[in-house]
Symmetry: C2
DNA sequence: ATTAGAAAGGAAACCGGTTTCAGGTCCGGA
DNA sequence: TCCGGACCTGAAACCGGTTTCCTTTCTAAT
């Protein structure tokens, strides 16, 4: 490509348009941005040429000029997790509708890479920065990270799904405690008394909140807290769920219901349960968080907590845009979770 | 943010660095790009200030100046499909290692949105464009699409995973036929004679190739081609697989093995089979394509075709970069598939 | 017909880098 | 002492837009 040597082999600019239309570049710019009146005749001529040459203005030059790039940078912990994929897709739609582009980067959960990507986004002069998962979800995030965020993003609005202690930023968070309450009410309502909590790491904000609420719900229902029914550690994937559930069986624990930290790990938990010759939900009920397609995919389909990704992503983006444009917004917003009951949860065995 | 009125509230530039270091902006630029010799003393001073102020050069300005943005645009059909998510993650790694940034956009399978996103990427002056899935996979893509690609991407290297007839671009494709052969050898080797082919649309290149190879393999093994064992239509997701398998049962077809067009639809197919009271693999074997985590997640785990995403993504990006830098590369490259046998496929019932 | 005021549009500066060009410094060799 | 070349470095142009400033042109009111 770019090899043919017929005359018109260069990318055209407003100067080219201006010359052919017999007007100044300023006028072309005015037509394109609609920022000022231009005589209909000249406007038509410019628009005709724009279409004729399929001219697209150079977004880089524009961004350089008005020091607004109209790009929102998004950093996710793991794009392969459907939770983030869903959220990203929703953010992209919202941003697009508002005239913004999103630049996605994926840290793969690596804190160092996270840092590099933040620098990269800053060099790209994104107008705002949204971080979903990763260090911002850490209950006690490393100082190094906060420092970097403070330094690099000093002049850029930051919106996170977690909580950054020392950072002046916006947060849109899920009410994890409320979600846990929904699950616990559901399970206790079905007669469950030995409810396990599996997966996640306690130094992650949401997971910690879930745990606290779990204990509180137990107390409210006058159920004893049994430490052998709680297994944490590992990452938020299938393998971890599988390992943790296996270990719980080995330890002789006999839950009648399991709350998985997310759908992903629920899939592993279910596998372990099946391999141990138990049926779902007759012997053990399993519920999860996130309500991704994984929940619908499982057999039986998983009872899960839904967040309304469309609204969640929208809130993230709207918050970012408000901050960019200097409008006031709530510093901390909360997304309300909703319970979706499916076949994986049923009455407790007698 | 950007609210505190202590002196240093502006984004600093090379001019600020230059002034404080007592050198010219050119010298600062030279230090940063390492494009020319600078006296050690001045170099140190500049680097010291760069660190002191945590200066990051404006990538937009740089791109504008050398008309190379060092950004590769990627368009995927559906980022929620782990196949694309995996591929994207791999591309991003490869690009990062080569000093490039990737700009991901997601068309959600909507052809019109696809067009808009291509324009957007062009405005962002990406150095190359990689399209994974969507219109490029269509056997007979709409003329409108090809026209747009030709027009908008006229000066930019294009790499696609499918095939664009009228377009002068690079292709990195999976050898779908070879993949089908692997599956058919596997199944016939297990004694299967009634092998169904389910999911996908025949007007999609890869799907079409699979079908042709399916027929050929049948012939080679002297098995009759039974049209009731082939079900196409719908999209490439779980729901489609479920529907199509249900319909096949209703039609009275009795396959002993099913080849799903991908893991995603295999999940739906498995559900249908289970709901019809059959066991996997004792009664029916199921195999799929893509070997995403979905394959590992299913119960029993799915026999699937793996592509080595790391290498696949790498090839896509390397091809793009070669084209950017004007190096010669093969116009058409092929990714070799590999069979991963798991629990979902077994001996045919007698 | 005159003129105030609005509307339209060109020239030039600017955004923040990179690169070319030309001048200056310093060196060794004649 | 003079000269050629290697090595540095600053001035200025450039990338492709937007925007300010100011002049010109039009319109309408007196």
């Amino acid at each position: 490509m770019a090899e043919q040597n017929n005359g018109e082999n260069k990318v055209i600019t407003i100067y080219d348009i201006a010359k052919e239309a017999g007007v100044s570049p300023s006028t072309v710019s005015r037509v394109l941005t609609n920022n000022a009146k231009v005589r209909q005749e000249k406007r038509d001529k410019v628009l005709y040429l724009v279409r004729k040459y399929n001219f697209r203005p150079n977004a880089l030059a524009r961004s350089l000029s008005d020091t607004r790039s109209k790009v929102i940078g998004i950093l996710v912990a793991d794009i392969r997790n459907p939770y983030y994929a869903e959220l990203f897709a929703s953010c992209e739609r919202a941003a697009h509708n508002a005239g913004y582009t999103v630049l996605l980067t994926n840290s793969s959960g690596d804190p160092q890479r996270e840092g590099e990507l933040i620098e990269l986004l800053q060099e790209q002069r994104v107008d705002a920065f949204i971080q979903m998962g990763g260090s911002v979800d850490a209950l006690f995030s490393e100082e190094q990270y906060e420092e970097r965020l403070n330094r690099d993003m000093a002049h850029i609005p930051v919106v996170v799904t977690g909580k950054v202690e020392g950072m002046d930023c916006h947060m849109v968070r899920i009410d994890s405690a409320q979600a846990m309450k929904l699950l616990m009410e559901h399970l206790t309502g079905l007669g469950h008394k030995r409810i396990a909590l599996i997966g996640g790491r306690m130094d992650v904000l949401g997971t910690h909140e879930k745990f606290l609420q779990y204990q509180q719900c137990l107390a409210e229902h006058r159920l004893v807290f049994d430490p052998t029914l709680v297994a944490e550690g590992g990452s938020y994937d299938m393998e971890s769920g599988y390992e943790l559930m296996n270990r719980m069986f080995e330890n002789g624990a006999e839950p009648t219901a399991v709350i998985a930290v997310n759908d992903f790990s629920a899939a592993g938990i279910v596998r372990s349960i099946v391999e141990h010759g138990k049926r779902i939900p007759e012997d053990i009920s399993v519920v999860g968080y996130d309500n991704t397609y994984i929940a619908r995919m499982m057999i039986p389909p998983l009872t899960s907590i839904d967040y309304n990704y469309e609204e969640y992503g929208n809130r993230l983006v709207q918050t970012a845009i408000c901050a960019i444009e200097g409008k006031e917004t709530d510093r901390l917003q909360t997304v309300t979770p909703r319970l979706v009951v499916r076949g994986s949860s049923g009455r407790a065995p007698e």
